[in-house]
């Protein structure tokens, strides 16, 4: 662990390796994955098929947020109407019982949709740790090409397997055209 602390003390966020094509990036990702790195990421200008598998990403847990908040939203929607119609402001409408659940289904359904949508949006933001005002990778001018034609792998100094010289050489061996040190 001393190495990690040393490099952090050096004022290093990590290394940014550039690759020339999606294919070389995918192959490099598999190697990084197989080495057991944990604090790393791949950056591409467009979605690449198979990248999740090459990176060894686990399935997202966002669907779980959507399910729980969706069902929760629907339950709250139904409870709210039950409370309003039978407790807060009981009012007989067209001779129907106070708790006429079929009439409450559309609102409960919409509350479920709302809950699910909020679960998706905020689940995503939380998982992606957004919003962030800045990111260390933006210190690299070259990284701007990630929205154009650049394919990158970033390895953080915080990774237990990180070693400045060795990791740099290793990334070059994986086919990186250029490896850059990123200030925090």
């Amino acid at each position: 662990m001393s190495l990690t602390q040393d490099t952090a003390a050096d004022g290093l966020y990590g290394l940014l390796a550039e690759f020339s094509s999606p294919e070389t990036l995918l192959q490099a990702c598999e190697k990084v994955r197989d080495r057991g790195m944990s604090a790393w990421d791949a950056h591409t200008p467009f979605p690449i098929h198979g990248l999740e598998k090459a990176m060894g990403l686990k399935r997202s847990i966002i669907p779980l947020f959507v399910l729980v908040l969706g069902l929760g939203g629907a339950a709250i929607g139904m409870l709210m109407q039950w409370w309003i119609a039978t407790k807060a402001y009981p009012l007989v409408i067209s001779g129907k019982p106070l708790f006429s659940w079929p009439a409450f289904v559309p609102v409960a359904f919409e509350c479920g949709v709302l809950g699910g949508a909020l679960g998706a949006v905020f689940g995503f933001l939380g998982q992606a740790r957004l919003p962030q005002h800045n990111h260390a990778l933006f210190n690299s001018e070259n990284f701007e090409r990630v929205t154009d034609d650049g394919f990158f792998i970033s390895v953080e100094a915080a990774d237990p397997n990180f070693d400045r010289e060795e990791t740099e050489q290793w990334l070059l061996d994986l086919g990186a055209t250029r490896v850059e040190a990123i200030a925090p």
Partner: protein, 402 residues
């Protein structure tokens, strides 16, 4: 690396080789004929029961063929890539539609047993039926049925024929042509299926009407064809046909469509129910009243649970849609509850106090189903199982869910 490799098809994947399927076709045909024979024997003394049982079974098998037709039209209209490997199976299925024109003949003969509005003396004493007699009269009923079958058969046979010709010509212009015809085809399909469901199912209770009824019937059709496509693919692959052509990615998508149309069915069904329940107009509520009392109440609850709640929760899981056994179970289950749905639409007119199962329910189901499966088997042996000339085939073969 799967992602960069474009899968290709070998010629063996495309043909129904061996006698296994041929034998199966003959067995289906024999079962069908036996079923219809048994139906014929049971007919005497059970006239009304026969016609109602026949209508349920006819609607069930027809809904699969109609689902196949709209499936193919939609794939062309949306220029879908993922579905190309399963589209030909739907094309074979929809080509059974002319058979249903033949199978409709008993319903045409049973008009007076099935439809209250077809009796002149009943209309004479019923102001409401008099108002509707411009539409609900036997002559126009027959003409409409002829138009429906001519249109469906024409569309289905023409699309399949063009697609089969493309297998040899590999001409992308065929796809262009079919794409441009598919959109008006969808409109024609929508109108005819809506009115066919009005004519054959909704008019069983001629005082009752629901503008959502056609969509409700369509939801069942579309659900049924996805279940059938899943079962066809699983059945073929268990015989080592289409290996590597239909992958888990395709099954996953078919499963997603099952899930979507389980929800769609419930959405339409509930919308229809809620508006009628809310407005509380006697002539509208009666139809639901008949299905919410006596023995039919249990069937209604079984539909809500079995056709919506259970499959909704089951198909929600990703792994269910990517495993053969669970997807097969879901497809079989949904076909069973789809049959129950049609039974629930038709039978309360005959048995007002509750479901009464009759041997004719089984014999008509097996009879029509056997002929349908035999026709499908013959059609499948007459052409490739995958549209090899389709320009989007490579895209479909290498399709992956993200």
């Amino acid at each position: 690396m799967e992602h960069s490799q474009h899968r290709t098809i070998s010629a063996d994947d495309l043909k129904l080789a061996g006698d296994g399927v041929g034998r199966l076709t003959k067995i289906c045909g024999a079962i069908g004929i036996l079923g219809l024979l048994a139906t014929f024997l049971l007919y005497s003394g059970n006239h009304q029961q026969f016609y109602f049982s026949y209508l349920v079974s006819f609607s069930f098998w027809l809904s699969i063929a109609l689902g196949a037709l709209i499936f193919v039209l939609i794939q062309y209209a949306t220029r879908a890539g993922w579905s190309v490997v399963v589209r030909r199976l739907a094309e074979h299925t929809m080509a059974t539609l002319p058979l249903f024109a033949l199978l409709f003949i008993p319903i045409a003969f049973g008009l007076h047993e099935l439809f209250h509005w077809s009796h002149a003396e009943a209309v004479a004493h019923d102001a409401l039926l008099q108002k509707k007699s411009g539409f609900l009269n036997p002559g126009f009923f027959y003409v409409r049925a002829a138009v429906y079958f001519a249109l469906w058969s024409g569309l289905a046979l023409w699309f399949r024929r063009r697609s089969l010709i493309q297998d040899l010509s590999k001409d992308p212009l065929t796809t262009r042509l079919l794409q441009s015809v598919s959109a008006p085809g969808i409109v024609l399909f929508g109108v005819t299926v809506t009115f066919a469901s009005f004519d054959w199912l909704m008019s069983l209770d001629p005082h009752w009407y629901s503008t959502a009824f056609g969509v409700y019937f369509f939801a069942g059709c579309f659900l049924a064809i996805h279940a059938v496509l899943i079962l066809l693919c699983l059945g073929l692959q268990s015989r080592k046909i289409l290996p590597g052509v239909v992958t888990f990615e395709h099954y996953h998508d078919l499963g997603k469509m099952l899930f979507a149309f389980v929800v769609f069915w419930a959405y339409i069904g509930f919308s229809q129910f809620m508006l009628i329940w809310y407005a509380n107009i006697p002539e509208e509520t009666l139809w639901y009243q008949n299905r919410l009392q006596g023995g039919w109440y249990g069937v209604t609850v079984a539909l809500v649970v079995g056709h919506f709640a259970l499959p909704f929760l089951f198909l929600l899981m990703r792994d269910v849609k990517r495993r053969r056994a669970s997807l097969r179970l879901a497809a079989l289950w949904l076909l069973a509850v789809h049959f129950l749905d049609l039974y629930w639409l038709v039978m309360p007119t005959l048995h007002t106090h509750g479901a009464e199962l009759h041997l004719l329910d089984l014999t008509t189901f097996v009879g029509i189903g056997g002929l349908f499966c035999a026709a499908l088997g013959i059609l499948m042996r007459r052409g490739a199982l995958v549209p090899i000339g389709d320009p989007r085939l490579v895209e479909s073969l290498s399709f992956e869910n993200i």
